[in-house]
């Protein structure tokens, strides 16, 4: 075990140099109090100087820088969000407008179409009416004509009947008169 041996040699040697103060509990051994205080003061002052001059400001500046950067980024994000909101509002407004316009156009077209349909129906009705009247008139005429012909046929028939029965010549005019009288 080389390490512990050298260790013990070392401590024995120093124990001798420390005037053989074997009995004293090391933390209360005043031999090196001055040395400890002296080196503590040097160490602490040097560390304080290094940290407060160089190291801590450096750390602080980086943290500060990051904090600023984050705040900036948050600001930018907020601005962008406002822009997005604005854009969306515009978009929604134009969408509503377009919708309203489409509705107006549609209802207008519907009204026009309705009017046209109504007009067409009215015209068709009127057409029908005139044609009905015309037809009735023609029918009346035809009937009258037919009825007129019936008179002459009846007269003819009467002439022929008389001729056949009594062998008497009757003028067509007389026959017609007779028919008329019968018809009353």
């Amino acid at each position: 075990m080389p390490a512990p041996e050298s260790h013990s040699e070392y401590t024995e040697e120093t124990a001798q140099t420390a005037d053989g103060a074997e009995a004293a509990f090391p933390p209360f051994d005043p031999t090196y109090f001055v040395s400890q205080l002296f080196w503590l003061a040097i160490s602490f002052v040097v560390l304080y100087a290094v940290l407060s001059r160089f190291v801590l400001p450096r750390i602080g500046s980086i943290i500060e820088e990051r904090r600023d950067r984050i705040a900036d980024d948050l600001d930018t994000a907020a601005q962008l969000k406002a822009q997005v909101d604005e854009t969306r509002r515009t978009y929604e407004k134009s969408l509503t407008n377009a919708r309203a316009r489409a509705y107006a156009v549609a209802s207008e077209a519907k009204a026009v179409a309705d009017a046209e349909i109504a007009e067409a129906i009215r015209q068709a009705d009127a057409d029908m009416e005139t044609r009905l009247v015309e037809s009735e008139a023609r029918i009346c005429k035809s009937r009258d004509k037919a009825l007129g012909e019936v008179r002459s046929i009846a007269a003819n028939a009467a002439v022929m009947a008389v001729e056949h029965l009594v062998n008497l010549e009757v003028s067509e005019h007389d026959a017609a008169m007779a028919v008329d009288s019968v018809k009353g």
Binding site: A3, H7, T14, A15, A18, Q36, W39, F44, L51, I62
Partner: protein, 259 residues
């Protein structure tokens, strides 16, 4: 073998380079070595971790930033924003003690003699640190508030006859602060390291007693492992406690009236 199991041996101080100055010894000792090493390590580690100055920190840098913000938050909560002017002082104290405690956790260290040493396990060191805190408290308190600093000993909102009782108590509690501050750190480090060494000594003693001894040595070995974990916690905790109490005492210097 006696040295290997002697739990006190680790606290011994021995000179590396003698610097006598009249009757006084300013020797560079193993304690000095560890203090100087701590200073170099703290400065170096912090500088190296921050060397890249990355906006998105790496592992080392975020560790250092966490430490920085940890100390900042501690001062803020204990002494308010005004206490931040003592930030370098508190941070230096915290880092120095923490590094000293942590170096002490290493059983072997590239040091003269190759054995670990904990400079915070010496009362003279911890007491000197505590006195420096009190010096800053009193120095700043008197500089800032003059005679009003001593209103610290006269708590406000108390009927005046009570001052006969309260003022001596306040003075005693104030005077005992450096003692308790120093002794707390010293005693924790000393006791922890003695305990570690005692159990480690059991392992060595049992290990030299043949097969059964080696088997039995597992118990103290497990204990040493557990104690090492505990001591790592204590090493951090005591540095933290020292810094927190420093903040509390500094808050007295900042606002002596408020209690």
């Amino acid at each position: 073998m006696a040295d290997a199991t002697n739990p006190i041996k680790q606290f011994e101080i021995h000179s590396i380079a003698g610097i006598p100055f009249g009757d006084w010894k300013f020797d560079f000792t193993n304690s000095s070595y560890f203090m100087v090493t701590s200073v170099i390590l703290v400065s170096l580690l912090l500088s190296l971790a921050m060397s890249r100055r990355a906006l998105t920190p790496g592992r080392a840098q975020s560790m250092v930033e966490m430490l920085y913000e940890f100390v900042t938050a501690m001062i803020r909560s204990m002494a308010g924003d005004a206490g931040l002017k003592f930030f370098p002082f508190v941070f230096t104290l915290f880092a120095f003690i923490l590094m000293g405690n942590m170096l002490g956790m290493l059983p072997y260290f590239p040091a003269p003699g190759f054995h670990g040493f904990t400079f915070t396990s010496h009362l003279i060191i911890t007491f000197a640190l505590a006195m420096s805190v009190m010096a800053v408290v009193i120095g700043y308190g008197v500089f800032r508030h003059g005679f009003k600093f001593f209103s610290l000993f006269f708590p406000s909102g108390v009927p005046w006859p009570l001052y006969f009782l309260l003022t001596p108590i306040e003075i005693i509690s104030f005077l005992s602060r450096p003692v308790t501050l120093g002794v707390r750190l010293f005693a924790n480090m000393l006791a922890g390291h003695i305990l570690l060494k005692v159990f480690a000594g059991f392992v060595v003693m049992l290990g030299s007693m043949g097969a059964i001894g080696i088997a039995a040595a597992i118990a103290p070995l497990a204990m040493v492992v557990a104690l090492t974990a505990l001591e790592l916690l204590v090493a951090f905790l005591q540095a933290y406690v020292f810094a927190v109490l420093t903040c509390i005492y500094l808050s007295d210097a900042l606002e002596p009236g408020h209690h």
